[in-house]
């Protein structure tokens, strides 16, 4: 099907997210809006988990699923995963703005830009990661909630944590390219 740009994607560099470290400063959001692939619209999500009872905030990037639900439910074939495992934002000429992906993504990632009738989502700062740079958000996060780099490095920094990329949503198991930091010994994160 679609061909893809030839790039120097550095597979040694991986994404590790520890959302409970998020302090809600929205620096990542401002940085995300600088990413050239989404033209001034931030694609990262920062929100309160349950403001009535806690000040906890969470941050969510696209997890770049191995078998992306978003792409599967897209009636327009607008979402493509490339050979680097990056799941791209909707193809602008194909997306019909149906929001299937917005609602099927188990991580709540894609955004529907209503006026433009177009879905947009995090594409791992493809303009940057495809030339070996880090995504914008990970370069500014002050709390270490977003970390992009070699696995040995994060392992050294966080000896009590294990990166996990298997998630359970009820009966569904989802494997992803992006990791979430979990207590040592964990093999999965059961959401429900």
């Amino acid at each position: 099907m679609a061909s893809e740009p030839v790039k120097n994607f550095n597979q040694e560099m991986e994404f590790f997210v520890d959302m409970q470290r998020c302090i809600g400063c929205r620096a990542c959001e401002a940085a995300c809006a600088e990413c050239e692939t989404n033209g001034e619209e931030p694609m990262i999500h920062v929100n309160y988990v349950d403001r009535a009872h806690s000040v906890q905030t969470t941050v969510q990037v696209c997890m770049h699923c191995e078998d992306p639900a978003c792409a599967n439910v897209c009636p327009a074939d607008a979402i493509a995963k490339d050979s680097n495992g990056v799941v791209h934002s909707a193809n602008t000429s194909l997306c019909i703005g149906c929001s299937n992906c917005v609602m099927a993504c188990p991580f709540g990632v894609p955004k529907k830009m209503e006026a433009a009738e177009l879905m947009m989502k995090c594409n791992l700062c493809y303009d940057r990661t495809s030339i070996g740079k880090k995504p914008m958000c990970a370069t500014v996060c002050p709390s270490g909630a977003l970390y992009f780099g070699p696995r040995e490095e994060i392992q050294k920094k966080r000896p009590h944590s294990t990166p996990v990329n298997t998630f359970k949503f009820g009966n569904q198991t989802v494997n992803t390219k992006v990791y979430v930091m979990m207590p040592n010994g964990s093999t999965e994160l059961r959401v429900h």
Binding site: Q20, C35, G39, T58, N72, L94, G108, M182, V191
Partner: protein, 351 residues
């Protein structure tokens, strides 16, 4: 991954063959058993017939994907129900706004809309002229006994006549030139974006993104070249222009089903989704159990549960309900809470 059927698809093959035969039949009938058919356009005709086959094939394959099939069925069922009538005005308005004028591209960028509007309008106008011409549905003859009155025939019936050199004649014979100009300006605007925009530069490919624009430019420039040649150059480059024009147009036609241009046939689905949302809202909205706010139509949530199951996803929860009952924000919060709980249990949030 995308459960698309790469191997030959029987159903699609049948649909495509029927469509192709239908097109050929229409050529016969429309051109009165080929007597009005312009033999000079034979190569174009073959290209078009192939395009009909290819487009129908891809369309049929496309419609077999569970989410597309669901929308397709929902749309037609709705169209033939009596509840559809109140939406007629809405559909017409959407068609004018979103298909004819592609208004929704404007919020993406001003020159982005201008560029696309010009190239799409140029192209669609050109189709409206060239397809009937190629199929022999329209042809022109000189009125018997005169030298300057032209007659236009549609399906072999005389429909109009106009004076050679008059205003109508001028525009009728030059309409394709106007189309070419629109396409050239539009494609230049689109090319400029692809040269200047860092995001596009990072994600574009030659085959998927530059080829269509280059092809459109080539068609339009050689098309204009034909007129330029016989108006000003006494036909010195006619051979070259007509051959390259034919080649580029045929490439374009043959390539429609495979590349970016297929979106021309996919876009009308956008009307369907807008009606679907409106009708869904009338039936009732879904409320997220986490945020307590409405976030989508209940019809959509229910349909997605079905579609995801067909696609081998199962988001059902043990205690009943589904992960899909949650809004995107609710889903993110659920994940955050689960991760926090795991960390809390470990007793070590950091390190």
């Amino acid at each position: 991954m995308f459960r698309i059927f790469y191997s030959l698809n029987r159903k699609a093959l049948i649909n495509a063959t029927i469509a192709m035969l239908l097109a050929i039949a229409l050529v016969y009938v429309g051109s009165r058993d080929l007597q009005n058919f312009d033999a000079a356009l034979i190569a174009y005709l073959f290209g078009t017939i192939f395009a009909v086959f290819g487009i129908m094939y891809r369309y049929s394959v496309w419609l077999q994907r569970p989410p597309t099939r669901l929308y397709w069925r929902r749309t037609w069922k709705f169209v033939f129900s009596k509840r559809f009538f109140p939406y007629l005005g809405f559909v017409i308005q959407q068609f004018v706004k979103n298909i004819m004028f592609q208004r929704f591209i404007y919020p993406r960028g001003r020159s982005r809309w201008w560029g696309h509007f010009l190239l799409a309008t140029g192209c669609m106008l050109a189709f409206m002229v060239t397809i009937p011409l190629t199929f022999g549905w329209i042809h022109f003859t000189l009125q018997p006994g005169t030298l300057d009155i032209y007659e236009a025939h549609v399906f072999g019936f005389h429909v109009a006549e106009f004076e050679l050199g008059g205003f109508i004649a001028f525009n009728a014979f030059h309409i394709l030139n106007w189309c070419s100009l629109l396409v050239i300006v539009g494609a230049v605007l689109m090319m400029r974006r692809r040269i200047k925009n860092g995001g596009l530069i990072a994600t574009q490919t030659f085959q998927d993104d530059w080829m269509p624009l280059i092809l459109l430019q080539a068609i339009s420039v050689t098309g204009l070249g034909l007129t330029f040649d016989y108006s000003f150059m006494q036909g010195k480059t006619f051979e070259f222009m007509s051959v390259t024009h034919a080649i580029t147009v045929i490439l374009f036609l043959v390539w429609i089903p495979f590349g970016k241009f297929f979106h021309i046939f996919q876009r009308p689905a956008q009307l369907g989704t807008n009606v679907y949302r409106k009708e869904g809202a009338r039936l009732g909205m879904a409320v997220c159990p986490h945020t307590g706010h409405e976030f989508a139509t209940q019809l959509h949530v229910n349909d997605l549960k079905k579609v995801t199951k067909e696609l081998d996803f199962n988001f059902d929860l043990e205690g009943g309900g589904s992960h899909l009952d949650y809004s995107p924000e609710g889903k993110r919060a659920a994940l955050a809470k689960a991760q926090f709980a795991a960390r809390e249990q470990q007793g070590q949030f950091f390190g």
